[in-house]
Every structure is written in structure tokens, then in C-alpha cells.
């Protein structure tokens, strides 16, 4: 019986592509800072932590936590803007929970917002857990 083992770089690339097709105009997983004239809404993907459970010596069940930090322009209706931003990012993350067949589940476990402090932007931080199998 063949199993699919996940590749982290592929998963991040898939997530990046899914967020873009969901409506995020700029996605970066290498740089984590807004500068220049990036287009909104934009999102940064941050690698966080891994929890590993050994099923066999060469089959490890990994729960990989990443943070997606998304920004939009708040405009005159910051609350509506942040809700719209959340909706776009959610649909992007949930578009393919296998991330190109690498993972067996992807779920958003928490969403935090800037609570108005990032004005004139609005910001939402998504804590996402990707479950996949690793050989090492």
C-alpha cells in the first residue's frame, strides 16, 4: 500500500498559489515585511512549529503549524474590510486541503485580527495546521 509523504516546499508553493487564486494579490513566504508598493490584499506565510509522532521508524505523522498574516486596506469600513479579507484567505486555504496531494488535512485553528491598531491597514493572522506524513 503506497503512502504519500509530504514535501514542505511543495506544500508552501501550493498554498501560495491557492491564496493567489482565492484573491490575494501578493503572497510572499520569504520576506515578512510590507515595503514598496505591494498590491493589497497581501499575505505572508510564516513557518512556525512541527509536532512529530512516530508511527513507524520511517513514517512520522507531522502536525505542522504555520501562520498566515494577511493585510488589506481598511478604507472607511475597517470591520467589513477585515471580514472580507478573512473570507478571501479562508477560501484560499480551504481550496485544497491536501496541498497538491502532499498533506492529508489542512485546517485553520485560530484567526486573530489587529483590532484596529494597524489602521490604515487591517490585518488578520491565521494559525493553520497542516497534517502530513514524513519519512524522516
Amino acid at each position: 500500500m503506497s503512502l504519500v509523504f509530504g514535501n514542505k516546499e511543495s506544500m508552501l508553493s501550493e498554498l501560495e498559489a491557492n491564496l493567489k487564486s482565492g484573491g490575494i494579490k501578493y503572497v510572499d513566504r520569504q520576506k515578512q515585511k510590507i515595503f514598496g508598493d505591494y498590491q493589497y490584499p497581501l499575505a505572508f506565510i510564516n513557518d512556525s512549529s512541527e509536532s512529530r509522532t512516530y508511527i513507524l521508524t520511517d513514517c512520522i505523522k507531522v502536525e505542522w503549524t504555520i501562520a498566515v498574516v494577511a493585510y488589506a486596506l481598511a478604507g472607511t469600513t475597517p470591520s467589513t474590510s477585515v471580514n472580507s479579507l478573512i473570507s478571501i484567505v479562508k477560501s484560499g486555504i480551504e481550496a485544497d486541503i491536501t496541498l497538491g496531494g502532499n498533506a492529508y488535512n489542512t485546517r485553520i485553528i485560530r484567526i486573530d485580527t489587529d483590532e484596529g491598531f494597524a489602521y490604515p491597514n487591517c490585518m488578520a493572522l491565521f494559525t493553520v495546521v497542516i497534517s502530513y506524513l514524513s519519512e524522516d
Binding site: 500500500m1 503506497s2 503512502l3 512516530y54 508511527i55 513507524l56 521508524t57 520511517d58 513514517c59 505523522k61 492529508y104 506524513l133
Partner: protein, 138 residues
Amino acid sequence: MTDSTRTSILSAISGVIEQVSSVNTVVCSNGNVMIETYKASDLPLVQIVFNRETPLYETSHHAMWEISFELTCYVLGGIEDTVENIIKDIKDAIGANQTMNQTCVITEIVSVNIIGDFPLWKLIFDMRSKYEKGVADA
């Protein structure tokens, strides 16, 4: 049936299961194997553990015993056709070799349970069999 001992029965059962092409490893143990010490290529792995043993009758020279045992097959992957196929393969092997090389008679497959969590599943066959032995060996 010939006069049998627990060891000869165990060896005969494992011999039959080893012939199942979809099973890669057979382990006879007195308890659960530490499955996390095995590799993916060792699976499907079958573990055979004897449970309760009860005398059915005894004469001056001979005794018949009922012995129950658990045959656990560890399978890696999605719970799909492959799992069902392994159950079928094991059932077929037992059905075709019910006397297990004359050491015992498999009288009943009491139950087959699938437990576990993705990606590791345990297919547990609860089995009963009878065997004979000279009283002197009891």
C-alpha cells in the same frame, strides 16, 4: 489431527499466514509488538498472540483443548479496498488450511475488527481452535 503443542500450533499458523502474498511479516509474540520499531516496508505485519486455553475433555491418554488466539494485522495507508483485500486474503488462507497442517482445527473466526487511526490500522481477527495432545504432554 496429530498430538500438538502450543509451539507447534503457533508455528503452523504462522506458516500458513506467511504464505499470504499480501502479508510481508509474521511475528509470534506473547504481547503486542512495538510497531513503531518496524519500517513501512515490513507492513502489512501479522502478529499472533495466544489467549485463553480451556480443556474440552480428557481421557486417561488423551485430551482435547480449545485455544483462542488473536491475529492482528498492522496495515499502513488509507482505509480502502486494500484493507478489505487483506482481510479477504487472510480469511481465504485460514479457510483453505483449517487444520493448519494437522496441528489444530480452526473452529471459528469469532470477529474481525478494524481499529486505529490514519495511517496505521489494526485488523484484529479473534479466533478459536481445537487441538489434541497426549495427557503426558499436558
